[in-house]
């Protein structure tokens, strides 16, 4: 399946884009997505390793399964406030 991942802050700057399309097997989890992103964006490896991912605006665990019809976002460590 094709997953479009929203990118923010330093992750967006390192990718040079507000989102990125990633091709993943149908059984893929958040952990697989993270690995695939690391391969596609080597300069962002360190940041991706400590980023969370959100599915439909909720934080998702590493073993959460992805599906094609959800909104996925990479959430680097936050610094609001």
């Amino acid at each position: 399946m094709q997953i479009r991942v929203k990118l923010f802050a330093a992750a967006r700057d390192l990718a040079g884009s507000e989102s990125i399309e990633i091709e993943l097997p149908d059984e893929a989890t958040v952990a697989h997505l993270r690995e695939a992103l690391m391969e596609r964006l080597p300069p962002a490896r360190g940041l991706l390793a400590r980023s969370m991912f959100a599915i439909d605006c909720d934080y998702a665990a590493n073993d959460t399964r992805l599906s094609a019809n959800v909104e996925v976002a990479c959430i680097p460590p936050v610094s609001g406030g």
Binding site: P77, S79, G80, G81
Partner: protein, 142 residues
């Protein structure tokens, strides 16, 4: 009341929004832009967020605070875009009948906001460089 806005934070409006004839206490927290962080001079900050998720998480924080403490009203306002030195980037206001819950809820809300709400700060240092802030440790004393 949850607001994400590019406009300067209007503290009078926020205090008026949480006021109530049942309130005996109001606690307002303002996070303001420091000129010096870890010895470096800041020119300004720039905030961005994941809007749909930030609003949702802020609403969840308000709902959880209302479950945990007997608070009357609650307002959380976060600024987006450029914020100059001395200006507020975030305001949290809570009213309650007595003061202890207002202090506790106010502190919990800003502590938790800084941990879970998808908002990011970009430092514009006085030397012209810029830097996204992505803390390594979960605990932050800012």
């Amino acid at each position: 009341m949850i607001t994400l806005s590019k406009q300067p934070i209007n503290t009078s409006a926020i205090l008026a929004a949480v006021q109530s004839p049942a309130a005996g206490a109001v606690v307002l927290f303002l996070g303001t832009t420091r000129e010096i962080t870890a010895g470096r001079r800041t020119r300004s900050l720039d905030y961005e967020c994941y809007p749909e998720m930030a609003e949702r998480k802020l609403a969840e924080l308000e709902a959880e605070a209302r479950m945990r403490w007997p608070i009357l009203n609650c307002a959380i306002v976060h600024r987006l875009g450029r914020v100059d030195i001395g200006e507020a980037s975030v305001a949290v206001a809570v009213s309650s009948a007595h003061r202890q819950p207002a202090f506790e809820a106010g502190q919990w809300l800003i502590d938790t906001l800084k941990q879970v709400v998808p908002i990011w700060k970009c430092e514009h240092w006085a030397d012209g460089t810029t830097e996204w802030v992505h803390p390594h440790a979960e605990s932050s004393v800012d």
